[in-house]
């Protein structure tokens, strides 16, 4: 994947660039703020942009704004937003028009190198990556409302993985079960929660998230 990184903290920006390069991605540009990245995006072929959510000038939601701008102009470019905190309200804002090619992860996740590299790969190929913290918050909220009680514990794990954006093979790998078993769980979950099964993994993520967010 060809990756561009925007983060005002040099230390982290360079660290992430190294991790991605060592993980087989090609880092085509590193920037101190979102505007600089956006300016280069037209001429630089980029598959995934990694954006810090807080950047100059206001240090509030520049990453989110840049994500929206990229989605509007270059819909084929994936965007991974990194943040010091993950908030359901911001996830909703980020995923307002679909989850394909989008990611929202806690900054700390970059040290789980394999998962991080996988997330970048997933986003670059039109998939989705949501932070486990966020997903478990949403799940536990639904759990407290007894809407998930019809699911078996195994089905809940599959639901969580789906919400994080994992594909069926990835879920099978994580849970160390067969692909067929995962597919069966997914069908069961969608039946039990009255969800329509979408054709693509990303549509599936959105359906699950909408359900979880209520």
């Amino acid at each position: 994947m060809r990756v561009a990184i925007a983060d005002d903290a040099v230390l982290l920006r360079e660290g992430i660039a190294r991790l991605l390069a060592e993980g087989g991605h090609e880092v085509v540009g590193t920037y101190g703020d979102a505007d600089a990245l956006l300016a280069d995006l037209e001429t630089t072929g980029v598959d995934v942009c990694v954006l810090d959510i807080k950047m100059p000038p206001t240090f509030t939601d520049e990453g989110l704004r840049a994500a929206a701008a990229i989605r509007a102009r270059w819909p084929w470019v994936g965007v991974l937003v990194l943040s010091q905190y993950v908030e359901p309200g911001l996830a909703v804002r980020l995923l307002a028009d679909g989850a394909d090619g989008l990611g929202y992860l806690l900054k700390d996740r970059v040290v789980d190198v394999e998962e991080f590299l996988d997330a970048v790969r997933r986003i670059g190929s039109g998939g989705c990556a949501l932070d486990p913290t966020l997903v478990s918050q949403l799940l536990s909220r639904r759990q407290t409302e007894n809407t998930l009680e019809r699911l078996t514990p195994r089905e809940r794990l599959v639901l969580e993985a789906m919400a994080q954006g994992l594909s069926n093979p990835a879920i099978a790998a994580r849970l160390q079960v067969s692909l067929r078993a995962v597919e069966k769980h997914v069908t069961n979950i969608f039946d039990k929660l009255d969800l329509i099964v979408g054709p693509d993994a990303d549509r599936r993520v959105l359906a699950v998230l909408r359900f979880l967010h209520g």
């Binding site: 903290a9 230390l11 982290l12 509030t60 939601d61 908030e87 900054k107 700390d108 040290v111 918050q137």
Partner: protein, 584 residues
């Protein structure tokens, strides 16, 4: 005692002069007695006396005000023309010479009413001009006027001042004296009076009205008299002038009486003060007593050496004293307040001191209240500053953590991850993995610590997003309704956030609630809006509002913003926490 003697003496002199003049004028009714020889000598006598009498009364009321004496002098000079009725030359000439003097003194009095001084340049010039006209120009004219040419003077004694009998010169001087200078002075005075009326404040007009009305009428009649040439017209106009002139001292007295009548306002004030509650503003009551609706009271705060109003707010004294006067109120030798009022109020010092004496205790009470309120306001401001400083400091710490330690640790963590992946030695990889995991836990703890210091998401994204996260992290269902047309100020946001956070924690920890509803909205207050926060749970209730340092801390925080925190929770009925926080 001394003053009473003087009053009696002045009255006796006026009476004697008046009677003497009448005695002179009456026997020789064919003699030219000046004004005293008009068709109604008794009326002329009454005019003179009323001027003198009104002058004495005014002087008795305000011994330090020259106005009364001017009025008195008008009355005395009024009689001087009666000397023209004598048979001998010198007194006749004195009468002839001084006949118009009263006019100058009268104009002086008119311009000096009611303060006793003519301060503005234009009126000063008019008064001076008329004095010159009725003394020097009159004397000059008499040098060339034989007594036979004096109107109505057929058998008069000779004019002792006559230098050479030149009727042409005399007539020319007369035209200058009465036609030019007289008209100028009268016209100028009318203009000055019109201006005085225009710029006068309401209490000033109350005093000026009767005087200016009669004075203006009188002057207008005189002006017509000067312009009219045939002697018959002159005479009838002269009578009319006398009649209107008779009303003048009465109007002076009426004007003065209007001020004097206000003294009964002190009695009313005493009654009204009985109904005033402690701390109520006294401006209106004192303003009514002193007949000045624009009156304001400023209370002295000795500890800060500044003036405050009844509510304790700083009260800057007027920078210019041109149209405002300041009267200091003292009690037992200490300054307690000042009255800022219309300068005309100061023209009746007795009324002012009476009013101040009557209101002294109430003023002192209000001053103490104002002082307490001012101190409360200072305390509140300082509490607000403390809370704000605390918030600022926590925010700074959170930011430092984020920009410093958190990022550095994350960078170290990334290095360890790379070491774990690249290091060939399995034991090194293992240790690196362990260190990464440990660092991950440290980072998570640090993140919680930072959030506890200050919720960055609140500052960055507002209440709705921050509360959504709070609700998502809560172990029980939290229904969230946030209806905010726009973001409140940071202090208000932080206060609302902490209220909800604390209420939620209490609901989970102490009330064993299974469900919480949070509502954030706005209400329109009397003058500005307020943020309304409701946190309702279905827990065990029975909350002791005084218990818990958390709630008390919130109360303090809200009080610093003039907000309110109400906690109600009857046993078994759940708990409702309501916060009202004014928005700016």
């Amino acid at each position: 005692m001394d003053r009473r003697v003087r009053v009696v003496a002045l009255l006796l002199v006026a009476a004697a002069v008046g009677l003497g003049s009448l005695g002179l004028a009456l026997p020789g009714s064919d003699a030219p007695g000046g004004l005293m020889a008009a068709e109604h000598p008794t009326m002329a006598l009454l005019i003179g006396w009323s001027f003198a009498g009104a002058g004495v009364v005014a002087w008795a009321l305000r011994p330090d005000n020259r106005f009364g004496l001017l009025l008195y002098a008008t009355g005395l000079t009024w009689f001087s023309s009666a000397l023209m009725a004598t048979d001998s030359s010198v007194p006749f000439t004195v009468g002839l010479l001084t006949a118009p003097w009263w006019l100058g003194v009268f104009l002086h009095a008119l311009h000096a009413f009611p303060g006793g001084q003519v301060k503005r340049p234009w009126p000063r010039m008019l008064v001076a001009l008329l004095y010159v006209d009725v003394t020097l120009v009159q004397g000059l004219r008499l040098l060339f006027t034989s007594s036979a040419d004096v109107p109505g003077c057929s058998g008069c004694p000779p004019n002792a001042l006559l230098l050479s009998d030149q009727p042409d010169v005399a007539v020319t001087i007369l035209v200058v004296q009465q036609g030019v200078i007289g008209t100028l002075v009268i016209g100028g005075t009318l203009a000055v009076l019109a201006r005085r009326w225009r710029v006068a404040s309401a209490p000033q007009r109350r005093v000026l009205a009767p005087v200016l009305a009669t004075g203006a009428v009188c002057l207008a009649v005189q002006a017509v008299g000067l312009a009219a040439q045939p002697a018959s017209v002159r005479q009838s106009v002269g009578w009319l002038g006398a009649a209107s002139f008779a009303a003048v001292p009465a109007s002076f007295l009426l004007g003065l009486l209007r001020q004097r009548l206000d003294r009964s306002a002190v009695g009313r004030l005493v009654v009204d003060l009985g109904t005033v509650r402690d701390g109520d503003p006294l401006d209106g009551l004192l303003g009514r007593a002193l007949n000045d609706p624009s009156l304001r009271v400023a209370y002295w705060r000795p500890e800060t050496e500044e003036y405050v109003d009844a509510a304790g707010r700083p009260f800057p004294l007027p920078a210019s004293y041109a149209d405002r006067a300041v009267t200091v109120v003292e009690r037992e030798g200490r300054k307690i307040a000042v009255l800022v009022h219309d300068p005309v109020v100061a023209e009746d010092p007795a009324l002012v001191s009476g009013t101040v004496a009557a209101a002294g205790l109430a003023l002192e009470n209000t001053r103490l209240q104002a002082e307490v309120r001012a101190r409360l306001e200072e305390l509140r401001a300082s509490r607000r500053r403390l809370v704000e400083a605390g918030d600022r400091e926590r925010r700074r710490l959170e930011r430092n953590l984020h920009d410093g330690a958190q990022q550095r640790l994350l960078a170290v963590s990334m290095l360890l991850s790379r070491l774990e992946r690249t290091g060939g030695d399995p034991s090194i990889s293992g240790m690196a993995a362990e260190a990464t995991a440990e660092l991950g836990r440290a980072l998570a703890e640090l993140r919680e610590l930072a959030r506890g210091l200050h919720p960055a998401v609140l500052t960055d994204h507002g209440l709705a997003v921050a509360l959504e996260g709070m609700a998502a992290r809560a172990p029980i269902p939290v229904e969230l309704v946030v209806e905010l047309p726009h973001r409140p100020t940071p202090e208000v946001e932080v206060a609302a956030y902490y209220v909800i956070s604390e209420a939620l924690t209490n609901a989970i920890k102490h009330a064993a609630a299974s469900r919480v509803t949070v509502h954030v909205g706005t209400v329109e207050d009397a003058n500005h809006g307020a943020l309304l926060v409701d946190v309702v749970d279905d827990g065990v209730g029975g909350v002791d509002p005084g218990r818990g340092s958390g709630l008390q801390g919130l109360r303090d925080r809200l009080a610093a913003l003039d907000g309110r925190l109400d906690v109600t929770g009857p046993p078994g009925m759940g708990t409702t926490v309501r916060a009202v926080i004014p928005c700016g």
